[in-house]
Symmetry: none
Subunit: 414 residues, 2 copies
């Protein structure tokens, strides 16, 4: 039996000890570490507290072969990771002129002068390798110390993640060299959590490896599969085998097989088909357009969106007849269809997608409760609509409604 390498993660920052903040970096890091056969054995969250941090670093380096810290590399007094790590390892902290010059240049490129305190970020632990940070001013460090790899990463995920992927992952993978742990995520739309479990539990409960976890995340169900193998090929084959069986049971409800987001899946289908899209939104207030345009290159297929929040806007910009609004109300199937046709005509696109509904918390009635949503999709041949009653608070209703709208388009594009 192959032993996996053990790691500890230390998240640093007093704000992480507040009741409304949780450390999400360690979840992402755990997934990456597991992927290269390294198991996380302990996580510590410590404030800007010299003595406790020093002890945490000493303890971790004594117990585990890999120690990763996140946070505390900023330019302020609070950012103690550099100096405390140096002290815990008994090494000096030295000013790196090259980093200092790069920092000054970074500020210059934004038309600013580097504040003097940022020079703190050019202090490097003796013999540490500096990890460049193209997304921020805090460089990271990689230190080999008595057989232990100590990695200092910045706290902001946008800086931490690329630094880990580009400069740390392959190096640690080399040290691990053993068992491979691979995960796969199937994302599901249009089915509830229990419906998904009822369909697939008879299958996945027969397998210890891969291990299956069902996760309910906003309006998506995620099925997480984790396989262990002596090689990546072996682990992948185990995943393929189980994943095929699950997909067979779930059919079209699985929209993503490698963790892609709904808007990425829809974007790819639009690109491949050479189609264009326009969107008319009421209750989601721009959220669908925002998700669609979050995808790089979306300007190839997304032409125009309208957020027609009041009735007048639905009439003047989308051409919805006032009589429809009067007779059926703004939240109705005929208005949803007229909105989809109206935006499609205005933007001259292949598809017009629309949504109208009541996101809450106010505005609901017995007949039209909070969560009632109509979604319509128009193309050159016809227009169809769907009606949903979506549970949740305002933000959740809006997010789930946007997901249902994108899923309607996805199913049309299959």
């Amino acid at each position: 039996m192959l032993e996996t390498l053990s790691a500890e993660i230390i998240a640093i920052g007093s704000e992480l000890l507040a009741p409304d903040r949780s450390d999400t970096n360690s979840l992402w890091l755990t997934e990456k570490l597991n992927g290269i056969g390294i198991e996380v054995k302990l996580k510590t969250i410590v404030g800007d507290d010299d003595a406790r941090l020093e002890e945490a670093i000493k303890d971790a380096t004594r117990r585990s072969k890999v120690v990763i810290t996140t946070g505390g590399l900023g330019p302020t007094e609070d950012d103690i990771t550099r100096k405390v790590t140096a002290r815990a390892l008994g090494r000096r902290l030295l000013l790196d002129e090259k980093i200092l010059a790069e920092l000054r240049e970074r500020f210059r490129s934004f038309g600013q002068v580097m504040p003097e305190r940022n020079s703190r970020q050019a202090m490097v632990i003796d013999k540490a390798e500096v990890l460049p940070n193209p997304n921020g001013s805090a460089p990271g460090m990689f230190i080999e110390h008595e057989g232990v790899a100590i990695v200092l990463l910045p706290g902001p995920p946008r800086e931490m993640r690329p630094m880990f992927e580009n400069h740390v992952q392959s190096r640690l993978a080399g040290k691990a060299g053993g068992l491979k742990v691979i995960r796969r995520i199937l994302r599901v739309a249009g089915l509830g959590e229990s419906a998904v479990d009822e369909k697939i539990a008879p299958i996945y409960t027969q397998y210890e490896n891969p291990q299956t976890t069902i996760l309910f995340n906003q309006s998506e169900i995620e099925v997480h599969l984790t396989a262990r193998g002596r090689t990546e090929v072996e682990a992948e084959a185990l995943l393929d085998h189980l994943s095929e069986k699950l997909e067979e049971r779930l059919g079209n409800a699985v929209f993503s097989f490698a963790g892609e987001k709904m808007e990425e899946v829809v974007g790819l289908k639009l690109t491949v088909g050479g189609y264009t899209l326009s969107i008319a939104e009421s209750c989601t207030g721009g959220l669908i357009a925002q998700r669609v345009t979050d995808v790089p290159g979306s300007s190839k297929y997304f032409i125009e969106g309208v957020v027609a929040y009041c009735n007048d806007a639905k009439t003047r910009t989308l051409g919805v007849e006032p009589v429809l609004l009067l007779e059926h109300g703004a939240v109705s199937a005929p208005v949803a269809e007229a909105m989809a046709e109206g935006i499609r005509k205005r933007a001259r696109t292949d598809f017009g997608l629309s949504i109208t509904g009541i996101a809450g918390p106010g505005g609901g009635t017995d007949e039209k409760p909070v969560g009632l949503v109509y979604i319509a999709l128009a193309d050159d041949a016809h227009t169809e609509h769907r009606r949903f009653i979506i549970p949740g608070d305002r933000q959740l209703v809006r997010w789930r409604a946007s997901q249902a709208a994108l899923d309607m388009l996805r199913r049309r594009l299959i």
Copy 2:
């Protein structure tokens, strides 16, 4: 000097070290502890791992006056909290006949016979006080050990929370001596992290209470103040005092004093002034409208939004003259101003807010790099614009651009 009692929380269970699970019990506990004047100084998450858990308990009891563990009190082999805590404290583990009888009775009341392994849950650490668990089979424990309070709580929130509230909270409050801990968050826009620190460090470093932490969160800077007082009034007064000094230094850059989001602040100002708003977006793709409409009641002031992603849409829906697009390009000050005026005219609102820019990763040139953004604001008297070069990846550029746009409107509304 007001000393708060310091606490550590240890969450126990291998499942808490998976990449898709985070420890939420500690957030709830932190809020409760802060409320009775106890500060959480460190959190540990450890698996079902005897040696590491023993060390974690020993370290915590040496450093802090209150140690709370959650989880690991179940009936299986994995549930190691009882035996490891006993070992760490050098105390014996004794079978409690009364608990055993209660456990048997609990199973009997559900028409079942107690499985033998559940008798493990009747093992009690010598001299520990047993905390009853009406919602599950695992009793908790309260141990006084060399001046430290050690509390073992079950993992499931529906068992842990009532046990803490009914049997632990008032006892710890007694130890804490009634000190109150209160937090306040100032949010800042339009200044960088180091600029903020340079302005306010000379002030906040003079105070140990309240304690100040600066947090960089997307495009916002948050200044977190934590005050300890003998009463809530005293803590609030300390917060008021420091907060006023900081606000004086930061001026208009502080947009929120109680953690409100930018879109809530802007929404309130629009509501109070009786103003209406329309938005024309290019690079943010609906994000600004989405943020504005995320606020309940936003239909009172938000009338219409347009996501004019291609040039044609800018002309046909916003009335931007083709000659402007030809001469200056879509990402330019004249086009931004024409978009703001165009949406304001279409929607007949008091303010028209617009944005055009290059979110990346593609589309940048030497002259117009990725991150270049023009924001314009039109009212009945005049139209003004601002130019930004925003660092970051696509999502960050979009978010920061939306924040800068809302901040421009906020400053106009002051």
